[in-house]
Subunit: 461 residues, 2 copies
Amino acid sequence: MRLATLLGPDLKQLLKDDPDQARLLLDELHAEDIADLVSELEPDEAAKLLEHLPAEDAAPIFERLEEHEQEELVEQMAPESVALIASEMEPDDRADLFSALPEDVGDELMRTLERVDPEAAQDVRDIEKYADTAAGHLMTTKFVSVPSKATVADALAAVRAFVKDNEESPLYNVYVLDNDRLFGIISLRELVANEPGDRVDALSLTNIISAPPDMDQEEVARCMAKYDLAAMPVIDSAGDLLGIITIDDIIDVLTQEQTEDVQRIGGVEPLDVPYFQTSFLEFIKKRGIWLVVLFGEEFFTQTALRFYDPVFEAIKGASYYVPLLISTGGNSGSQSSTLVIRGLAIGEIKPRDWWRILVREAGMGLVLGLMLGSIGFLRVLMYKDQHIPFALTVAGTLVGIVMTGCTVGSMMPLILKRFGVDPATSSTPFIASLVDVLGIIIFVHVAKIIMADVILAGGVH
Amino acid sequence: MRLATLLGPDLKQLLKDDPDQARLLLDELHAEDIADLVSELEPDEAAKLLEHLPAEDAAPIFERLEEHEQEELVEQMAPESVALIASEMEPDDRADLFSALPEDVGDELMRTLERVDPEAAQDVRDIEKYADTAAGHLMTTKFVSVPSKATVADALAAVRAFVKDNEESPLYNVYVLDNDRLFGIISLRELVANEPGDRVDALSLTNIISAPPDMDQEEVARCMAKYDLAAMPVIDSAGDLLGIITIDDIIDVLTQEQTEDVQRIGGVEPLDVPYFQTSFLEFIKKRGIWLVVLFGEEFFTQTALRFYDPVFEAIKGASYYVPLLISTGGNSGSQSSTLVIRGLAIGEIKPRDWWRILVREAGMGLVLGLMLGSIGFLRVLMYKDQHIPFALTVAGTLVGIVMTGCTVGSMMPLILKRFGVDPATSSTPFIASLVDVLGIIIFVHVAKIIMADVILAGGVH
């Protein structure tokens, strides 16, 4: 890593001036570091470099670039060069490239790829049949398989042949097939540890944990994490092995899903590219839409306050407590909603637990509300011009509001999930604005009970 | 997976009634699924079962239990039995067990372990030297190494010996040592693909990506994800190989770190155990502390509104717009802070980028503010009793408040990071309450400029 950082500027210059010399240097670096350097080049320089490299050297670099960088480069390069590189890419990365490209560019590239490497083109079509976030789209079709009557020696020979052709592909297991059906899995370490003449079907693990091709990538990730799998087979309903999902892709999935969740929780439509690569206009769209929705929602606070004007006129200074009270409801609601969102995301909480959660959160809201209510009560009385009835009103409101925050905040993600919406959409600002309006109504009604005489004296009924 | 779910209740009964019979069944299941079943037993039943199993069968189950479950079980079991199981556990999982135990229980277990397996006890002490979240604490000391003059055949023999003793340990690479110094890494697939007589030093990868033992686990995770590593060596400053970190642990780290981030963003002190295992009292503590802090912060809104009372008296109905206006600032601030928090967490944003972010967020705040300001302006004028000066005041306030939200929200995580505090501590409720007070001040000052005549008529200067 340090090497790349030190060499960065010099290597960049060298890449421009003397690509042949640079290639020797590139041999010493990890493809990931080279991709970092290529990212820093101007698109036309980067395109020139990748076109200059043999396709099998360019592919591991190209497939490590961000999708938006790939898209830029494809526009700069001859379709022929891109097709050659694509044919050398890992099948899943190749399919991702096609997903990232605008339709017309992708179609043109596909026509070229069909000419250059019909098999690679077929792989893309096979993977593209599945949704972007499905196991079938995440899998690679490059794996080592042997028939069930093969020996350990046969399997090792298959591994040797695979490694020769696929320098970069990860390889943890050999898949034992009975015709096309997946019969068992044998790890490389088991192959090494056993006798060459042993039959693989006797050694292989047959209690297989696999994914159907339409399983959502988040569930795939959770399953592989749970069972500590380095690779998971994807099999169709007939039991045929379609491909494998490797752990390196799962880490990317986890990171991406979590980024989306955090952005939703913060009230932003998930971004497609990193912060600095997101255009100003894109940000305005992704943030603006939620700000406008929340603004509309929040306008009801003004409507409610206006509606209850006589109450606030009767209790001098009461309206100044509104932001304090309602934001406390929003805070407790934020806590509950993030706890439930995260619990759902990692599978600790299941939608069927809703009743237990509701009871728990209502109880917690009561205790937390009483705690804050006591503090509020004492704090209000510190003002010489305030009296016990108003201090009690503030305290009572806090109890009601915190309980509302906890229950609404915890139930909203579950309700959204029930209707097929991402639970993280119940963002903290969304919960807060929902609870704000309820908070005002609670405040007024608590006041009407505790301070009936004052309000009546103000002429309100 | 389905098997375990179906068998669940029956197997549970069988485990209680006839552990010997159950053992035969257990052979068919993944240790992870058995651990799930054991989790559902009462602690005393689970303890009985684990004591009944041979330690090498119990260890893979025990190490997959949650920390709090392990703690409960240790209290139910004889120290001798626990020590035997601990001696069969993976070194990193064993060290985690000791970290999870209360000090006195841990000390007693350590004395027993020293008697049963002094080497395993030493491993724990070696790992415990490092902070809980450091690479040294995450690593396992079980790996296969060969001297640099070894041949491929020697390395394969070492692998065979390792697999025989360590059925459960992951094995991706063989480490080539020059004395104790890490010289190179050769993957199992390379070993299989090459000739038995070849020397490993000629074949091994020497451009090694490694971690020092004090590297934070989040950085380790990021590095392994970036380079798609299944295992990463941990080496000390002399270049000696101390252990390796495997990818399955990294997924747990990523999930745990992200859970903590999400909880912080929601204004909850990170929980140590899952939602349903967290006790009611623990929740009150972890949530209450932040609710009280935020309540204290939020009280300044009341102070500010009281302070500006004459202005609100002069402009009839203005105070009813306060929640709407300040929460809009909070919403834009939440967006900015979560974007920056997440950007920092995945390394897309570096603290040195602060100036670029500030400029960008201020610009975005201006555009978003103008957008909401226009909507607000029109909305206010829909009331027959409102006039253009007040509508302009609302619009101007929205511009100022959204800009403030964006800049404060984006800078706060960077400032916290600068002072060594987790950036996610700048939770959305924290940002919101900060921006709320500023919002009131902005509102009043915009009003003083645009509606000077009205305010003067009210007798304010």
